[in-house]
C-alpha cells in the first residue's frame, strides 16, 4: 500500500513539474507575441572592482537605445521601441550568470555586454543554453569565440588580433623613427590577461629584432610600484610595455615620474589606463606621450564626435566602453531589423551574415567568422598635450606619433 501511494505521488509531482516547465516556457513566448517593446539585456559589472568600466558600458548601450527609439524604433516590427533589461554582473562570472538567468526569465531577445573576459566567458555560455544571442562588448580573451558557441558574437577585436597589430605598429613606429628601440622591459599584471600577453611578447618581440631584457609581473591590486620602478631603472630599457589594469598602471606611471625614469617610449597593449581620459585628466604629466594599443572610437566619425560631446557634457568620461556598447547595440538592432523578428534563431542567423557599417568604431567591413568580427581592429593612441589622439593606423589617425619621446 505504502509503496503504491509513493508511486502515485511521485508521478503526480512529475506531472506537476512538466506542467510548470511548459508554463514557464510558454509564458515568455506569449508575452513576446503581444509585446509593445523589444527587450534586450544590457549586462555590465555595475558594482565591484570593474564598476568604472561597467557603468561606462551601460551608458553607451543606453545612448544607442535612446537613439534607436528616437529614430522611430525597430521599423521591421512596426516601429516597436527597445527596452533595456539592465543587469549587474557584480564584477564576477557567477554574478553574470545569475543575471543571464534573470534576463532569460524576463524574456529578452538578446544580451549585449559583459566587459571582462571571465564574465563574458561565463555569461555567454549560460545564454547559449537558451540559444540566446550574446554580443560580447569588450572581453578580449580568445577562448570566448573559440568554444564553438553559435550564440556568441564579438564585435571588437580579440587579444590575438590586438597583439598582432600592436607588434606590427611597433615595428612601423620604430622604423619610421630610425630604429631607436633595441631593448624592452615588460611590466604585466599576473592574471590571465597580463601573463598571457607577456608570454606572447617574450616569443614574438625577439623575432622582430627587439631584446626583452626584463619581464616584471605584479599582482592586482598592488599597493606599491617602487620595486618595479627600481628594476626598470636598473635595466634602463629603451621601451617599457605595460599591460596592467587602471590603478596599477597609474601607480607605475606616477612612480616612474617620481624616480625620473624616462624611457624612449611607453608602448602599452590593452592597458587599463593608458588611453583613459580620467588618467589624462588626473595626472597629465605622468600620462603625456604614453602610447596604447586598444579599442577606440573612430575620431573622424560624426556620430562619435557628437556622442563624445554629449558624454563630456554629462561630466562623464568617453571611454572605449561607451563607443563599443553603443556600436554593439546598433549591431543587434540591425540584425533584428533584417531578421524581421525577435526569434532567437533568426537573430543569430542575421548576426552571422551581418555587414553592419553604421557603428562608430575604426573597423573594416563587419564579417563574423566563428563569432569573431574579422573587420575589428585596435588603434594606437597617444596622449598628446593632455588629449588622446589616434596615431595609427593612418586611415583613422588624427595626429602624428611623437616617437621617441624627447628627453
Amino acid at each position: 500500500m505504502t509503496k503504491h501511494r509513493t508511486g502515485i505521488s511521485r508521478r503526480g509531482a512529475l506531472q506537476a513539474g512538466v506542467g510548470l516547465a511548459t508554463g514557464a516556457f510558454a509564458l515568455p513566448g506569449l508575452a513576446r507575441a503581444q509585446a509593445t517593446s523589444i527587450k534586450i539585456g544590457i549586462l555590465q559589472p555595475l558594482t565591484g572592482a570593474l564598476a568604472f568600466d561597467g557603468q561606462a558600458g551601460q551608458l553607451g548601450a543606453e545612448f544607442a537605445i535612446k537613439a534607436v527609439n528616437a529614430a522611430g524604433g525597430v521599423k521591421a516590427l512596426g516601429g516597436v521601441n527597445l527596452e533595456a533589461v539592465k543587469g549587474d554582473a557584480l564584477s564576477t562570472p557567477e554574478g553574470g550568470v545569475s543575471e543571464v538567468e534573470r534576463m532569460q526569465a524576463e524574456g529578452v531577445c538578446a544580451i549585449v555586454g559583459g566587459f571582462a573576459s571571465p564574465i563574458c566567458l561565463a555569461a555567454s555560455q549560460a545564454a547559449s543554453r537558451y540559444d540566446l544571442p550574446y554580443i560580447v562588448d569588450v572581453g578580449v580573451n580568445d577562448q570566448i569565440v573559440n568554444r564553438g558557441l553559435k550564440n556568441t558574437f564579438r564585435f571588437g577585436p580579440g587579444s590575438s588580433i590586438v597583439s598582432a597589430q600592436a607588434l606590427d605598429n611597433l615595428v612601423k613606429l620604430n622604423d619610421a623613427a630610425g630604429k631607436p628601440i633595441k631593448t624592452i622591459a615588460l611590466v604585466h599584471e599576473d592574471g590571465l590577461f597580463g601573463s598571457g600577453l607577456a608570454k606572447l611578447l617574450e616569443t614574438e618581440l625577439p623575432k622582430r629584432g627587439f631584446e626583452v631584457i626584463e619581464s616584471i609581473a605584479h599582482p592586482t591590486p598592488s599597493r606599491d610600484m617602487s620595486n618595479v620602478a627600481l628594476q626598470i631603472k636598473a635595466k634602463n630599457p629603451d621601451l617599457v610595455i605595460p599591460s596592467s589594469y587602471y590603478g596599477e598602471f597609474v601607480l607605475l606611471a606616477r612612480t616612474m615620474q617620481q624616480q625620473r625614469i624616462k624611457p624612449k617610449g611607453i608602448f602599452a597593449i590593452l592597458n587599463g589606463a593608458a588611453s583613459n581620459y580620467r588618467f589624462v585628466k588626473e595626472f597629465p604629466e605622468a600620462a603625456e606621450n604614453v602610447i596604447d594599443t586598444n579599442h577606440w572610437y573612430d575620431p573622424r566619425n560624426e556620430t562619435a564626435i557628437a556622442l563624445k560631446k554629449e558624454v563630456d557634457g554629462m561630466g562623464k568620461f568617453f571611454t572605449y566602453n561607451v563607443a563599443l556598447n553603443y556600436s554593439a547595440v546598433l549591431l543587434l538592432v540591425d540584425a533584428i531589423e533584417r531578421a524581421g523578428s525577435v526569434d532567437r534563431a533568426k537573430i543569430t542567423a542575421a548576426l552571422e551574415t551581418s555587414t553592419f557599417s553604421k557603428h562608430i568604431m575604426p573597423y573594416g567591413p563587419t564579417k563574423f567568422v566563428n563569432g569573431q568580427n574579422t573587420g575589428a581592429a585596435p588603434v594606437n593612441t597617444q596622449v598628446q598635450g593632455g588629449d588622446i589622439k589616434v596615431v595609427f593606423p593612418d586611415a583613422f589617425a588624427n595626429a602624428k606619433p611623437i616617437f621617441p619621446v624627447p628627453a
Binding site: A49, I216, A217, H218, D224, L230, R254, Q258
Partner: protein, 289 residues
Amino acid sequence: MFAPEIVIAAVINGLLTGAVYALVSVALTLVYGVLHIINFAHGAILTAAMFAAFFAEQAGVDPLIAVFGLAPLFFVLGYGAQRYIIGPASHGEDSNTLLVTLGLSILIENALLAAFGSDTRTIDVPYGFSTVDLGFVFLPAPRVIAFAVTCVTATLLWALLKKTDTGKAIRAVAKEKLGAALVGIDVAHVYAVTFGLGAACLAIAACVLLPSYYVQPRVGDAYVFVAFTVVVLGGMGSAPGAMIGGLFIGVVESLSGLYFGESLGQLGIFVIFILALLVRPTGLFGARA
C-alpha cells in the same frame, strides 16, 4: 642578483611602507590590549577616514592640514561608536564584540559603496611628485612625510600612555578591569577613549596615505590583513611591538617582492605570520602567557 643600491633602495622603500603599517597596527593593538577585542571594523574605519580626507582635499584642504580636524573628529566618532554601539551591543561578551565590529565594518563599507560607488579615487597634491634625493635613490616626498608623521604620532601616543592620567587609566583597565573599576576608574569611558584613540590613529594614517595612494570602499582591507600579522608578530597589545613589527614587515614585503617577484611580495608576510604563531606565539614583545 641585484646591485646593492637597488637592495638598499628597496629596504628604504620597505621602511617607508612599513611606517604606515606600523601606524595602522598600533591602533589595532591598542584596542586589543585594552578592550581585548579584535576590531574587525578597523579596515572600514580606515577607509572611512580616507574618504573623509579625500573630500577634505576636494574642498581645498590639504590632507596634512585636514589631519588636525579629522583626527579629533574620528576620536569623537570612535568614542561614540564604542560607548553607544559596540559596548552596549556586546553585553560584556567578547565574542559579541567581535560580531558587532564585524557588522559595523560591513555597514560602513556598504554605506560608502552606496554613497560613492566602487571607483578608485586619487588626489593630486602639489608635493605629490616631489622627491627627496639621497644620491642613489629618489624617495617620494609623500611617503617620507608619512614616515615622519608616524614617528611623531607614535611618540605622542607613547607619552600619552606613560605620562598622563588617562594613559595610566588605560593601562590599568588593560591589566585589571575589575581592579580599575574598584579604584574609581570609569571603565566604559576608558574603553571608549581607547577606541577613539585607535580611530584617531587611523585618521592620521589615512591623511598620510592618501597623497600617494588611492581610495575606494574596500581599500582598508589590504592594510588590515597586514596589520593583524604585525600585531601577532609584535605581540598582542604591545605598542612598541607593533611599531617595530610594522617596519619589519614593510621591509620583508619589499625584499620578498624584489627577490620572488611582486606577485609573491605578500608571501613573505604570511610566512612570517605562520612562523611567529609556531615559534613565538606571544610575539616579539608580548607578555609571556
